[in-house]
């Protein structure tokens, strides 16, 4: 099982962030490090709730933060339920940050994101 933080969006898919990459979550106004990465803007989706907190990610270059909504759902996904994106999407700017998608028959699908890749700004 993979522990994830689920960010509800206004689109058709929600975002599932790998929880193991997030060291701690703090209020946005308590964060004094580099400008937080706007996860939703980077992925071109609109969060269902305002982003008022940041998740702190440890990288080789120091701590980085990603903006997160005020209310997060914690969940678990079976590893086998995460399907890799086909190579047709390899030109997406965030190809390396998107680990895959869930393909539920019912309910909202999840786009599974590795936040450390976003925080490093890598493709």
């Amino acid at each position: 099982m993979i522990s994830v933080l689920v960010v509800r969006t206004r689109g058709g898919s929600d975002l599932a962030i790998l929880a193991r990459a997030v060291e701690r979550i703090v209020r946005e106004d308590a964060w004094t490090g580099p400008e937080p990465v706007d996860l939703c803007a980077a992925l071109g989706v609109e969060p269902a709730e305002p982003q008022r907190r940041v998740g702190v990610i440890a990288t080789a270059e120091g701590d980085r933060a990603i903006a997160l909504p005020g209310h997060l759902t914690v969940g678990e996904i079976a590893r086998a339920d995460v399907y890799a994106l086909p190579d047709a999407f390899r030109d997406l700017p965030l190809w390396r940050a998107i680990l895959g998608v869930t393909l539920p028959e019912k309910g909202r699908p999840l786009v599974v994101v590795a936040p450390e890749s976003l925080a490093r700004g890598t493709r």
Partner: protein, 152 residues
Amino acid sequence: MNGATSAAPLAETTSVLPMRIAGDLCAVPAMAVEEVLGMRRIIAIPSAPAHLPGVVAWRGRAVAVLDLGALLGRGRLAADAPADRMVIIAVADGALAVPAEAVEAVVAVPAARAARVASHRFASSEVEVGGRVMPLLDLTLVAQAILGRGGA
């Protein structure tokens, strides 16, 4: 007698699957068609280009959806009005799911005309099905356009 047969050579035929995409008829080689599915839910991929709006689940994997109408600039698939059919097409080492408004039965037709079809970016020939002439999609051209190579 030189031994040559006097019988006329059999007309070369090819099997194609006609379908309607963005209001236009086109055909794909039947050999490339893996399966024709009913309406399928498309799972949107954030920041994906208009012609690759998402994926569908097929045989235990995620297959990229190719919106051919969007690729040809003839209007994109409406998110709230999914296509009635989803045609799974083998492309090199992968597969693409192509939404279609309608799919007809596979039919054997005389071999494609050699002349290039000037009106269609992804057809190098055309076929006649029931008196209707339509472009025969060249899947290599399609794959090259979206991937820069022959796979998906």
